[in-house]
Subunit: 461 residues, 2 copies
C-alpha cells in the first residue's frame, strides 16, 4: 500500500512536470508567433493612421467599428458580431483658447489648453475671472462662496513623483479633473482650470472626462499643460488679482447608436463558459488613441489570431471584445454585462488591456487568494518573458460591470512609467508605440489565456 | 545552554529583521530623492543638448570631460580627478552617400547609410561593384576569391526577432559589422555593406565599430538602414548583377590625449576598497549619445549625489567613473584597470550602466554562485521598484579589464526592447529618454551600491 502511494505520488509528480514542460513549449510558440508573424503593429497602424482619433459618436468611431469587424472577419473565428449600444456624443467644436491676463505685463499670455471631455463650452463670449488656486477639492469648503463666487478655480495639485506606480499618482490627482467643476460650481465659481494629469513637465494639455453633479449648475472646465500650470501659479504669487480668460466651443449632442465589436473561438468542452480579452475602441478626440487604447484592441484580436495560428483548440470559449465608449460614459462595458446577464452567459475571467502598449510587467486580478496563488504558480513560466508580477488588484473599467456576475477580473500590466506622458493628448500617436513592446503584450495576454483555459482558475474560496 | 542558543537565534533573527526594515526604509529614501530631487535628467539635457555627440578625440569629447569634472565638483565629493588616456581619433568627414545602380531602372536609388566607425574612407572616387549578398561570415569561405574579388559584400543577416532579449539578437548579428570587412577583404572584396544592427524596420542607419585584421588589406565599410537592406535584397533577386556605389570620407587621425573622469566618496572603514559605478562619456558622432551612454554617466554621478544628499557615509570608497573611448577602442577602460593594478587599488565590485536609460529590470553579474545567491536575497527589497532580475551574466565593456584583478562585475539591466531602435544613430537624442525611467535607473544603482556597501559580497566560493 505504501508502495502504491509512492508510485502514485511519482506519477503525479511526473505528470505535473510534463505539463509544465508542455506549457513552457506552448508559451514559447506563442511568443515566436507574436514576434515573428505579429499582426498587432500593422493593425494599430491602420487604426491610428488611417482612422485616427475616434471619440464615441464620431464618424471615426463608426469607421473603427467597421474596421474591427473586418479585421476579426479575417481571423477564421467561429463568430464575429456587433452589439448595439447608445453612446454620448460630445464634440469639441471650434478652436479653444486661453490667456493669462496680467495687468502688469499688459498683454495676454496664451496657454496650452483643451476642454475637459463632457464639459459645456463657454461659447464665443468666453469666460473671464480672477483665479483662485487650490490643491484639492476639500479646500473649497473653507474658501466658500465669499471667495469663490464669480471666480475661476485653478486645481493645481500635481502627481506625486515619488510614487513608482504612476497609476497611483493618477489616482491621487484625478478627482480634480473628474469632480472639480461641480465642486467649484456649488460655491458660484464660473469656470475651472485643471493642471494636466501627468508627471511630465511640458506644453501638452491632457483631456479626460469630468462628471457634472446633478443638482449643481454646469460650468465650463479646461486642462492646461503642466508648464502653463507652473507659470500660472508663479504669476499668481506675484499678482494675486490677475485674470484668466478661456473660450471653448464644446457641447454634448444627442446620443448616437454605436457598437461593441465581438469575435470568438468556441470552446470544445465548455462552449458556454467564456474567457474574455478586451480593450476599448473609442479614444479621445486629440491624437490617435494609440496607447489609449488602440494597443489594447489590437492585442485582444492578436490573442485570437495567435491561438488560431498555432492550432490551439481552447476548451472554453475565448472572446475578444472591443468596447465602445470607455472614455466618456462606459456605456459599452455596461451594455456588454447587461446582455451577458440577460443571455445567461457565464464569464469565467475577463482580461483587459488598457494601460498602453508598453513593455510587459504582469497582471493584476481581483481573484480569490487561492486563485491568485494558483496563478502565481505560473510566474515561473512567464518570468522568462519579463512577466514577474501577478498581484492582487482591480480590473479594467470596461470589464468592471461583469464583477457582479462573479467574473474574475484581470488587467494586463505593462510598465507604467511612460503612460501618462501620452494619456489623452495629441501626442498619443502610432509613433509613440514600440512594435516589440506591443507584440510582447499580445503574447503575454495569449499566454495567460492559454494557461487559464488549460488549467482553470481553481476554487473561488 | 539551550536557552542561550535560543536567545542568540532570537537575537540574530530580530537583528536581521531590523536590518531588512532599515534597508527598506533607506531604499525608499533613495527612490524619493531620485524621483523628487533628481539631477540626472537635467545633467543629461546639458550633455546631449549643449555638448552633443562626443566621439573620442573630438572637441565635444574634450568638452564632455570638462563638464563631467565640473558636475562632480558640485557634489561635495572627497576627490574628483581626471585620468589621462590616449585615444584614437576617427573622423567621419564630408557627406557620405550611396546608391543602388540598377541597369533596369536606369537611375541610381539613394540609400540611407553611414560609414562604420574606424573604417577607412573611399575618398571622392567612391567604390563601385557588383553586390554579393551573404548572411554570415562563414559563407565567404565557400564563395572564395572567384566570386568575391572586386565585389561589394552585403551582409544581410537580420536580428532574430523571436529573442526576447534584444542583446542576444545583437550578439547574434554583430560579427558582420565587427569582422565583415576583413573577412571579405581576404578574398579580394573592395567594399562592405552591412544591414544595420536593429530589429526595427526604418530608414535610420546604425554605425558602430569594425576591427580590421592585421594582415589583410583594409577596405571601406558602411551600414545601410534596414528598409534599404530589404530593398537591396529584393532588387538583387530581380537583377543579380546590379551594382552598388558608395562614397565615404572618414579617416583615422593620430591619437589624442583624453581623460577618464573620476569622483569618489571615501569609505569610512575600508577606504582602500572600492565599489565602482560607471558609464562611458564618449559616444558615436551621430545623434547625441543620450541612451548610449549619456544615461549611464548621469546615473553614475547621481548615485554619488543621492548618497551625499541622504547623509549616507559608506564603509567602502564609492567611486563614479566616466570612461572615455568605449565605442571605438576601450582605451579608457583598459587604462583604468592598468592604473588600479599599478596603484594596488582593490575593486570589490564594478557596476556599469551601458544599456540605455530605460525602465529598470535588474542586474546581471559574474559573481560566484554564493555571492549571487546573497544578492538574490535582496530582490524582495528591490522588487517593489520593478527590479526582479538578479542573474548570472557578464559586466559592461569598460569594467571588463578589472575582472583579471578579481573584481566582481555587474551590469545594470534596464528593459531591452527599445535600445536598438536608437543605438549608434542620429535618433539617440535627449527626447528619446524618459525622465522617470532614467531616474529609476539611478535609484536602482544607488540602492545596489548601498546594499553592497552595507552587507558586502560574501565569500567568492
Amino acid at each position: 500500500m505504501i508502495r502504491f502511494y509512492w508510485l502514485l505520488s511519482f506519477f503525479v509528480l511526473v505528470t505535473a512536470s510534463f505539463a509544465q514542460t508542455d506549457d513552457a513549449a506552448t508559451i514559447q510558440k506563442i511568443y515566436n508567433e507574436a514576434l515573428q508573424n505579429g499582426q498587432s503593429y500593422e493593425n494599430l497602424r491602420f487604426l491610428t493612421k488611417e482612422i485616427g482619433a475616434r471619440l464615441s459618436g464620431s464618424p471615426q468611431a463608426a469607421a473603427a467599428v467597421e474596421w474591427g469587424r473586418q479585421v476579426m472577419d479575417t481571423l477564421g473565428l467561429d463568430r464575429v458580431y456587433l452589439q448595439e449600444v447608445m453612446v454620448p456624443h460630445w464634440v469639441r467644436g471650434a478652436r479653444e483658447q486661453g490667456r493669462i491676463l496680467s495687468q502688469r505685463s499688459g498683454a495676454g499670455q496664451e496657454v496650452n489648453l483643451c476642454a475637459l471631455g463632457n464639459s459645456i463650452g463657454t461659447g464665443p463670449a468666453g469666460v473671464v475671472g480672477e483665479v483662485v488656486e487650490v490643491h484639492g477639492l476639500e479646500e473649497l469648503d473653507a474658501l466658500g462662496r465669499a471667495q469663490l463666487a464669480g471666480k475661476i478655480v485653478f486645481f493645481n495639485r500635481p502627481f506625486d513623483p515619488a510614487l513608482v506606480n504612476t497609476f497611483e499618482a493618477y489616482g491621487g490627482a484625478v478627482d480634480q479633473r473628474g469632480g472639480g467643476a461641480s465642486a467649484a460650481a456649488q460655491y458660484g465659481a464660473v469656470g475651472v482650470v485643471v493642471r494636466s494629469m501627468t508627471t511630465r513637465l511640458d506644453d501638452v494639455p491632457h483631456t479626460g472626462s469630468l462628471r457634472y453633479a446633478a443638482d449643481v449648475p454646469k460650468i465650463p472646465a479646461v486642462a492646461i499643460s503642466t508648464n502653463d500650470a507652473d507659470r500660472l501659479s508663479r504669476q499668481l504669487t506675484l499678482e494675486p488679482d490677475l485674470k484668466f480668460y478661456f473660450e471653448t466651443h464644446c457641447q454634448m449632442l444627442d446620443d448616437v447608436l454605436s457598437y461593441n465589436v465581438i469575435g470568438e473561438i468556441k470552446g470544445t468542452q465548455f462552449p458556454n463558459e467564456v474567457i474574455l480579452v478586451g480593450g476599448h475602441l473609442d479614444s479621445w478626440d486629440l491624437g490617435e488613441g494609440a496607447h489609449d487604447d488602440g494597443a489594447g484592441c489590437v492585442q485582444a484580436m492578436e490573442v485570437l489570431r495567435i491561438l488560431k495560428s498555432l492550432g490551439i483548440k481552447p476548451k472554453h470559449t475565448i472572446r475578444a471584445v472591443l468596447f465602445m465608449n470607455e472614455e466618456n460614459g462606459l456605456r459599452g462595458g455596461r451594455k456588454y454585462a447587461e446582455v451577458a446577464q440577460a443571455n445567461r452567459e457565464k464569464h469565467l475571467v475577463a482580461i483587459e488591456s488598457d494601460r498602453g502598449g508598453f513593455t510587459p510587467r504582469g497582471f493584476e486580478t481581483n481573484a480569490s487568494p487561492a486563485q491568485l496563488k494558483r496563478m502565481q504558480g505560473w510566474v515561473t513560466l512567464l518570468a522568462p518573458y519579463g512577466l514577474h508580477e501577478m498581484i492582487a488588484g482591480g480590473g479594467g473599467a470596461d470589464i468592471g460591470p461583469l464583477e457582479a456576475q462573479g467574473t474574475v477580473l484581470m488587467e494586463y500590466l505593462p510598465d507604467p512609467q511612460r503612460y501618462f506622458d501620452y494619456h489623452h493628448t495629441n501626442i498619443d500617436t502610432f509613433e509613440a508605440v514600440n512594435r516589440r513592446e506591443l507584440e510582447l503584450g499580445a503574447a503575454a495576454m495569449a499566454s495567460l489565456v492559454y494557461l487559464l483555459d488549460r488549467h482553470g482558475l481553481g476554487k473561488a474560496k
